[in-house]
């Protein structure tokens, strides 16, 4: 005698298959998607970040074609739950239950919706459990250097990452992780892209390398690299990381982590103009050994 409805079984199989897994900075995510079409479109984007552990978080992406959120932008905290609305997405993140939901109007915004939910969860979990900082920064691997390149919107992160295409490897122009759990800081790439990441930098590649410097950018007519006072560096980072300190408990941990960051990594103000001579200047200023003759 059958005890279950076969059609219900097929439904369950279909529902279970519409998901993807990923791991970022050692945090595992199971992301439920609206249907198999979404999975087919999105899962390949994250193939370099496979879920190699039990998921720590469950993130649900909800498709709402009637969602109309133009120009709305807000965030609100209620205990462990954060609700948000920005750039056409809305949803919530529950830091205690480790669940998140992001609503988006179309599959076109699917990757961004995934990365919005995963990114916020990752930022807080990395702080609390991995002694790592998620930074609004570009990551550039160049001549043995792992450069963490931060600055406010428009400061030049994407410009510098684009300039690195010819002589190094930009691993991301928007979000990277600095792992501070070991004796030396590590730069970890993420698959999280920005709203304005240009196509040539829209690569979701997994890289891990020693972090060697934190550069805080400013456009200028000439090149200059100057060490920054720790407090100035922290204030500069806070300009773009205010979301990390909106909760008192997170603010405490964030400040501890940033203190560790600036103790273990040289921090510079880099004034630059967007020309390839940047790299010769940086090689001299940072004392990077010359390239081996090819």
């Amino acid at each position: 005698m059958k005890t279950r409805d076969p059609s219900a079984w097929r439904c369950n199989v279909a529902a279970a298959s519409a998901s993807l897994g990923m791991a970022i900075g050692g945090i595992g995510f199971r992301v439920q998607l609206p249907n198999a079409a979404w999975q087919a479109a999105l899962a390949p984007l994250y193939r370099e970040f496979p879920l190699d552990r039990r998921p720590d978080w469950q993130v649900t992406i909800s498709h709402d074609p009637d969602l109309a959120l133009a120009d709305q932008r807000w965030i609100a905290h209620d205990g462990p739950i954060t609700r948000f609305c920005a750039d056409g997405y809305t949803g919530w993140v529950d830091l205690e239950q480790r669940r998140a939901l992001v609503r988006t109007a179309s599959l076109d915004g699917g990757a961004s919706a995934v990365e919005r939910g995963v990114g916020y969860a990752c930022m807080h979990t990395l702080l609390r459990e991995r002694q790592s900082l998620m930074l609004h920064a570009a990551g550039i691997l160049w001549r043995g250097q792992g450069l963490v390149v931060s600055g406010h919107s428009g400061a030049g992160k994407t410009t510098m990452a684009r300039l690195a295409l010819d002589c190094g490897e930009p691993v991301n122009d928007e979000v990277v992780i600095v792992d501070l759990s070991g004796p030396r800081p590590l730069l970890l790439s993420t698959p999280i892209l920005g709203q304005s990441t240009p196509p040539e930098l829209a690569r979701r590649v997994r890289r891990v390398a020693p972090a060697t410097a934190l550069l805080l950018l400013a456009h200028a007519p000439d090149f200059a690299l100057t060490p920054m006072e720790p407090s100035e560096a922290v204030m500069e980072l806070l300009r773009t990381h205010i979301a990390a300190v909106e909760r008192f408990s997170s603010a405490e941990i964030w400040m501890d982590m940033v203190e560790r960051l600036i103790q273990s990594l040289p921090v510079y103000r880099l004034r630059f103009r967007p020309t390839p001579e940047l790299w010769d200047f940086l090689a001299d200023a940072l004392g990077v050994p010359p390239r081996a003759a090819s």
């Binding site: 008192f248 603010a251 400040m255």
Partner: protein, 94 residues
């Protein structure tokens, strides 16, 4: 604000702060505000830990900075008044 000689300033419970080098960075998540203090304000902030009165903080400053007690007292009162208005410190021990 209060300035009873018996009262002692203490950091508000919902404020996160760290001293980097000689400057303090103070975050008030409830108000969504971030501030950086100069070295003198940072020292007063450090001394305002709930164990000292305004007078005791002023006396401590005269031993660390080139300032007389009257000037130190005035500076401490002015800064603590501002911090109290911004809800970054409270008063204890009245």
């Amino acid at each position: 604000m209060t300035n009873s000689s018996l009262e002692r300033p203490v950091h508000a419970a919902n404020v996160a702060a760290r001293v980097y080098g000689s400057d303090a960075v103070v975050i008030s998540p409830d108000q969504g505000m971030v501030r950086m203090f100069n070295p003198t304000a940072t020292r007063i902030w450090q001394l305002a830990d709930g164990s000292r009165s305004v007078e005791e903080i002023a006396v401590a400053l005269t031993g660390e900075f080139d300032v007389d007690l009257a000037q130190a007292r005035q500076s401490v009162l002015r800064l603590l008044s501002e911090l109290s208005e911004k809800q970054l410190i409270t008063w204890t021990g009245a």
